[in-house]
Subunit: 335 residues, 2 copies
DNA sequence: TTGAAAGCGCTAACAC
DNA sequence: GTGTTAGCGCTTTCAA
């Protein structure tokens, strides 16, 4: 108690006390420009002791940057997708923590990206990370037209877009192939909305897996574009009726619905039919029996996306597409 | 095509073209200060046509504001809490949309609020919304000490804190009372971590409901502070064994676990035992049978919290505590 | 009603 | 190696 000098101290204050110029202080902080070791240390020490914090507005105004990036995620996403976005965002924050940047939120909708537009046009951020990609993505097109750095989590067919994704095609191919090798002959694939790029990719991987095992794609069963729980349950019923030996679910949410449906119908897993999912999550990973799935690391996705964006902002070279790894977890559901 | 004048136009540019001073343009935009109707309109028209956008950094520097607020949520929250925070955040964004403010994310942990500290100390925001409250909340204490406007979603015992919450005490009391009136004699309450204020509040409401119906609190069963699924399942089993006629679950996540457990044990709802939850969500609202619950509106919570914060930032008077409504939904699970 | 000018806190030429 | 100075784009006295 006693001293109450909470008033924000500026670079000028520091300079005055130390008897140097503002420039010198600035140089000591930024590390740019020539400055004597002794002087620098003196400034740094003083700053440390007195908790000097640069004013982000002043810095931003001077160097024409905002020191904020935008994390744009669907505002209408399925409840079950939330954990993915949350973890991914944690990965982003982890990276920004070590920099001067912070993360601004934007909620985008499939047919309404006005929130994103506002943030970009008001120049509140230096770059954007798009949390997911659609087949015909308004956000991607808009950002390309605005000539602002951005990277997508998820793939896109648009040209000249920086993308970070797991190698889902390869992953799905591998899992499909392994299942076929385990002796399953007739595979069904139950999938979600076809305007999500990820669903297209997974389908492709699935078909590649079939081909690799010499199975005719047409011989197998595709139930795609399901939107509601009812759609999915219907697909599950049809798959069973058609004699499917193993049902591949395009994501964990679908998988959960299928499992619940089969349980209600008295269909045993893996006794009557095998089950596997192309995405693992808390939703299904404590299921009995344990489910065969693909595992990705959403946090790493956020990490890499953020690092990529920051490099992009700094004008550094980055690969157009970063493909991250995956794990194939073979479990009891496909014995 | 042809003209490519995407370079950001400034207040000075506008002034020059219109043959007025920067001051005049500024006044036309802000509405502050005296200015002729004709002049103002002329400026406004020009600005509209030429898509002038004020530079947030310059504005921020000049008036010492950041035009950002912080939305601080737990980084380690239970998967099942995510939808709540997401909806709540949508409510916040809805409000900021109509203002100059944007929303900066901060992930806080029960024992680590360094991310929040960084944002506050770097002066990146004008105020903070805390997404939840703990019994002994580091974030609340820290923010109080920093003398920066903030409001909590959820209640707290700390003095002089602006809070927005549903009237959970009253809600829980009402539901408990109604259940007792329906003929249930022996109620059990299964609850989560006791360091969450919301759980304390709900417990209190429960006990008030008992008292209101003339039931001795001690005569009933409290299973509190459960953290894991195993804890909850154990509690459910004990409640049944002890002859509970109706189990009240403190939230939807607990409720879901209890339902699944009972189903596995072959206990029928509501045949053998009634079930109710103090929080409704997608997790349970498509359950068969339908579950008796309390319903709140997370989005409205975000709305009110954000409006409150913005007023606080503007120095306006706001009530210290805003209590929002609720609905009691009596369903099949407590027939 | 309007304008000139100072200033917000920081950066970066350009001297010395 | 260090200081001077001129901005960055906006707000806000204070004059006119």
């Amino acid at each position: 108690m006693g001293e109450k000098e909470n008033k924000n101290i500026t670079i000028g204050d520091v300079a005055k006390v130390l008897g140097v110029s503002k420039t010198t202080v600035s140089r000591a902080i930024s590390g740019k420009g020539r400055i004597g070791d002794a002087t620098r240390q003196r400034v740094l020490d003083y700053i440390e002791e007195n908790h000097y914090r640069p004013n982000p507005m002043a810095k931003g105004l001077a160097d024409q940057k905002k020191y904020n990036i935008c994390w744009a995620i669907p505002g209408d996403s399925n409840v079950h997708e939330l954990p993915f976005f949350q973890r991914c965002m944690a990965g982003v924050c982890e990276v920004t923590m070590a920099t001067d940047y912070d993360v601004l939120i934007s909620l985008v909708y499939e047919d309404n990206i006005s929130h994103l537009k506002r943030i970009v046009e008001n120049r509140k951020v230096d770059g954007i990370i798009l949390g997911r990609t659609l087949v015909d993505d308004m956000s991607v097109k808009y950002l390309k037209s605005m000539d602002i750095p951005f990277v997508t989590v998820g793939s896109t067919k648009e040209k000249n877009v920086f993308q970070v994704d797991n190698d889902q095609e390869k992953a799905c191919k591998e899992l499909t192939f392994k299942l076929l090798n385990r002796g399953y002959k007739k595979l069904a694939l139950i999938g979600g909305p076809l305007n999500h790029v990820v669903n297209i990719t997974r389908q492709k991987g699935f078909e590649m897996g079939l081909k690799a095992a010499g199975v005719d794609v047409k011989a197998d069963m595709l139930f795609l574009g399901n939107k509601t729980v009812e759609d999915i349950e219907k697909a599950a019923t049809l798959a069973i009726k058609a004699g499917s030996e193993c049902i591949l679910c395009m994501d964990d949410s679908i998988c959960r619905d299928v499992i619940l449906k089969l349980r209600r119908e008295g269909v045993s897993i893996p006794g009557d039919v095998g089950i596997a999912s192309f995405y693992n999550s808390d939703l299904i990973n404590d299921n009995q029996p344990q489910i065969t799935t693909l595992e990705y690391d959403p946090k790493e996705l956020g990490n890499v996306a953020c690092k990529t964006l920051l490099k992009l902002i700094d004008g550094e070279d980055v690969p157009q597409k970063s493909l991250l790894g995956y794990k194939v977890l073979l479990k009891e559901s496909t014995q």
